[in-house]
Subunit: 349 residues, 2 copies
């Protein structure tokens, strides 16, 4: 185990841990004494009909979702809804490589799939909160992959679904890109097969990852217009790479990021239907807003459109933001106001 | 010096070497006993008015340009034109890190800029062939960067210019991407600061580069539609990465690729005008067809459009090909027929 303060309460704020006991994973191993981190806002009404589940993306935790997406000014308003923000397994806060004891610590942390997360979240929602139907499941990127998994796996439980900047099945393009990201970490001799003493030993790999993520995570327009000035307050391209991208990844745990990458790369709701994506997406009952980001190079709008066309009660709601995929972090106010507008419409639908 | 057969005549076909003597480079060093590789097709007419110069891209040599772009079926028809295809300096065939003797061998090969190439090419064209005006300068990607440099540096000599899939100044986005590419090679311990015994010692780095180039070199549509089947005859994403991308880069010389990357990353015609791009592009007299590729993620169409708007006699000719930047290699017949159509129109203009 590594005591990385980035994943502690001083950095992440308050959260609860739900005890899952031994969680048998899709790939066969059992995650012992598994814990799911969550934080909740607002009050569950008597009918238990106002619950919203918010999922997390790659490298993100519940904190960014709570900070950017939840609040009285947002569609996810705790005055109206009971909002549960849940950290994915392997994210550093829930059970993860760096916080698990032997024999599942570090490089021996088992392989986890999106389906494992969603089954764990289902137990939190049903067993702990006694909720039988969610008014909305919403998340971006890997969080959106979890939204799709919820809507296909538990169709009766999901009244509304909002996958933001995500597809129901990983694309070949992105699978290759994730290989590049994983290689960036594993090629650092300091990674040492996953048995480093501190994440700082893998700083070169983390910096390499930061630069790679920068090339697809932000759009060419972001760079062309030097939006790091207006949006992020950085003075140059180098200042942006060092002060934003490297600063973002450096405090993180490399095995955590690799665990999430493995999961990200295999997200695919058609695992429920022998590889048949149209049949999998036909299972979705939820009123669904498919919400791509206009300049996204991870999950390009045309790929999200293709999913949308296969879902019965789905509408495409394109979010215009020249940042690209990283716009998800809500750096630019125009982004979150579009998301809020669509989510309000969906919740009133 | 390394005897790498990839850059020899068995692989590259016949070419000539023009002796430049000592070439004083923009960054101050002198490239001793410099050689410029070229091959020519067709006959120079008596007025010397039918000469076309064809430049090369990153990792490419004169052979691919001759094979794909030149021929009786193409606009670059040797029955009508005198066509000179020239290899850029540092490309492996012209004077380059792996074929230069000490003290400029390998890691000590000097830094070369696009402007150095164009000055060397100018000497070949004027001193060797006695040509005072080129009917057309055409090239793709880094070849297009050379086209822009020609049109700005020697405006009176360039009657027509056709930069394909290129911009006049490197974008921030691409500069970061090239950093990622260079790091892929240099992070391989086998690279050893540039002092490997054989390119094979850097195979991991070359393979890493191959996968990175795959993520931006081919478009998301290429991957979504699994066009490696129809266009390249490969059976899967892995088959494509191994059998096309890695197979392409593995025989190459790492220092050659790094030399070209350094040059690629710094291409900027506004060096002539103190950083003022509009003023630099105003110098262009040539009738110019700016020819972006529709799905290009290296040089996106909107960036090429921005250049086009700054050139007096320029027209935008978008080439539609879902391959993205790598479409330049002419894998798909639809690509080269569009290029030919535009170049014929330009040559008749």
């Amino acid at each position: 185990m590594i005591d990385n303060p980035y994943y502690g309460r001083e950095t992440q704020g308050e959260f609860e841990l739900y005890d899952l006991g031994n969680l048998v994973l899709e790939d066969g191993e059992t995650l012992r004494d598994a814990k799911l981190a969550y934080r909740n806002f607002g009050r569950l009404n008597a009918e238990k009909s106002n619950a919203i589940l918010v999922t997390t993306w790659f490298s993100g935790t519940g904190k960014v979702m709570a900070d950017v997406y939840v609040g009285r000014d947002h569609a996810l308003n705790p005055d109206e809804y009971f909002i549960v923000v849940v950290d994915q397994i392997g994210s550093g806060v829930s059970s993860s490589p760096q916080n698990s004891p032997a024999p599942q610590a570090m490089a021996k942390f088992p392989k986890v799939r999106i389906g494992d997360d969603v089954r764990a979240q289902h137990r939190l929602i049903t067993e702990h909160f006694g909720i039988e139907r969610l008014a909305l499941v919403v998340g971006g990127s890997m969080g959106g992959q979890q939204v799709y998994e919820w809507a296909v796996r538990y169709p009766q439980m999901v009244a509304r679904a909002a996958p933001i900047a995500a597809t129901a099945r990983i694309s070949h393009h992105q699978a290759i890109f994730v290989d590049v990201c994983a290689d960036a970490l594993m090629s650092d001799p300091g990674w040492n097969g996953g048995w480093y003493r501190s994440g700082n030993d893998v700083r070169d790999g983390l910096d390499r990852l930061a630069r790679i993520v920068a090339t697809l995570g932000w759009s060419p327009q972001f760079y062309q217009e030097e939006r790091w000035r207006s949006v992020l307050g950085m003075s140059s391209s180098d200042d942006f790479i060092n002060g934003v991208m490297k600063a973002y990844f450096e405090p993180m745990d490399p095995n955590v990021l690799l665990c999430e990458m493995w999961k990200w790369q295999r997200a695919d709701v058609s695992r429920h239907t022998g590889g048949d994506l149209p049949t999998a997406l036909k299972r979705i009952i939820a009123k669904t807003y498919v919400m791509p980001i206009s300049h996204d190079m991870f999950f390009p709008p045309h790929e999200c459109e293709a999913d949308c066309a296969l879902i019965e009660r789905a509408e495409l709601k394109l979010i215009h933001t020249p940042e690209g995929h990283m716009g998800l972090n809500g750096f630019e106010p125009g982004y979150i106001s579009q998301v809020d507008e669509h989510l309000r419409a969906l919740l009133n639908n």
